[in-house]
Symmetry: C2
Subunit: 116 residues, 2 copies
Amino acid sequence: MYYTGNDHGLGVSFALTSYKDKKVITIGVVHELTGLSERQIRYYEERGLVFPDRSKKGTRKYSFNDVELLMDIANKREEGVQTYEIRQDMKKEEKKRQVREEMLRGQLNAHFNMRK
Amino acid sequence: MYYTGNDHGLGVSFALTSYKDKKVITIGVVHELTGLSERQIRYYEERGLVFPDRSKKGTRKYSFNDVELLMDIANKREEGVQTYEIRQDMKKEEKKRQVREEMLRGQLNAHFNMRK
DNA sequence: CCCTTATTGTAAGAAAATCTAACAAACTTT
DNA sequence: AAAGTTTGTTAGATTTTCTTACAATAAGGG
């Protein structure tokens, strides 16, 4: 686990990156880990649910986070939830996450500006 | 991060497995992550320094731990240390690890036998 | 200096893995 | 009924990996 400073200009900011986010897994392995067919995995990408990186020549690379996400998607699908709805839910979650992040950044900036 | 119970018979035992140990990375990606050539990576395997898994058809799969190990090896090599010596050092470390593990297992067994 | 071992690059050819695009089937929604 | 969703399968091309072999360079020992 390692840290990457990335303060843009005046604001306070930081990021924590772990192996879970590294896009290093090929689709065949993702298939083995999730039980999903490669067809399904590519289709969920087409529907905007996952975003693998690509090698220079175009082969997909997934992270462990992607694998976990795909397993969640598989569960939702078994419950009959369509990809469109899953997408909507993900957008909402993403929105909430952004709000929390902005609040945190605000708190930190306030704190550091105060004692400068 | 998840836990796997694996008590064999009477002894107390446990294992903690994380993504770092999962062998899911192909040699091309290991090359990108470490800067080592694929030739070097295969050679270090030949010299008994790394032990990737293999797919059914034979393609190598590495873990993040393997990647870290290979980076350590790369550093040693830059210092001029030969693979043979690196191997010896690794064996010693492995031995120490085993001793510690056995002691821990002994402590745990003693503890649980005491109050049974 | 000669010989051996260690390390790495490169090449060749085969095999494995992945990619895209298309068609079809089975369902679900509208 | 028509349109949209989801998945399998197939075909052909491309990318990635594998093994084996040969060569070059470096390092160490006698």
